[in-house]
Amino acid sequence: MSELFPQQVGRYAEQAGSKLTTTHKNENVIEVTQEKLKEFLGHLVNDLSTRHLMTITGLDLGQNIQIIYNFSHERDTVHVKTNVPKTKPVALSIIDIVPGAILYEMEVHDMLGVYFTGNPWMDRKLLLPDEWPSDLPAPLLKTSRADEIRKRLDLGVAKQ
């Protein structure tokens, strides 16, 4: 069963115009475009019963923001990567496929400023403080700097 699994994932990956690469032991990485993402995830979740989404990771790649959906299935982990441009950071929400993704999408929204269309809680903050200045870049972008954020936030130091 578990030997068959990467092959099955690979088949669906080819349908989505991508290719499966196994980087480390049991780590399967697929990179799909934003349009094909939901179709591929639908196959992965419903047909291959990979229903456990571990988390959603966001990465700043310079030009693009990469979103990695980390799934786990018995011994295998499946990492589905997709890119959104930094100039227009909008992605499709997957909570209709995986309802448990709702908080992870909020986290990526907080940390990298990606807007997930279809997520009802996008206007709320999950991790960042309420008084977060809206003109600051999202904290995990490479352009944002920790010491500049510290100056803007009220951490008690400024009052002294």
Partner: protein, 140 residues
């Protein structure tokens, strides 16, 4: 005479209120452990109360972040006089390992005046007891 009696009772039974200002839980469970049978800080009349309005001593753990800084100030303001603050752990003393994180302050003394620092990551329950006893010894 009355003043003497108040001071005596204050020293004999300090009521403490614990506030977690974004700590990692390490110091917090050690505070609770010091109330447990093994250490039993209640021998000295120290009672953990659920409201700052009843408390004489405020135990603060954790780096102060932007979400908790205002809460810490308001809790401190609600405490009746005389009030004392104990900063527990490396984070509350100076920021500890989180010094330099974008949402972490550099110790509680920037927000509220601190009377006693208990360094440690986390301090042993005995170290917490020692700190509380030392504070009581200094209170006149």
């Amino acid at each position: 005479m009355l003043e003497k009696l108040t001071n005596w009772s204050r020293k004999r039974s300090p009521w403490v209120f614990h506030i977690n200002a974004s700590s990692c839980n390490g110091c917090d469970i050690e505070i609770v452990a010091s109330l447990m049978p093994r250490y039993d800080i209640e021998r000295f009349g120290v009672v953990l109360v659920p409201s700052p309005k009843h408390a004489d001593v405020l135990l603060v753990t954790g780096v102060v972040n932007a979400q908790t800084v205002d809460r810490l100030r308001r809790v401190y303001e609600q405490m009746p006089e005389p009030k004392h603050v104990i900063a527990i752990g490396a984070c509350a003393t100076s920021g500890g390992v989180f010094k330099g994180c974008y949402n972490a302050g550099q110790g509680v003394q920037d927000v509220v005046p601190v009377d006693m620092y208990i360094p440690g990551c986390p301090p042993r329950p005995e170290a917490i007891m020692y700190g509380v006893m030392k504070l009581l010894g200094e209170v006149k």
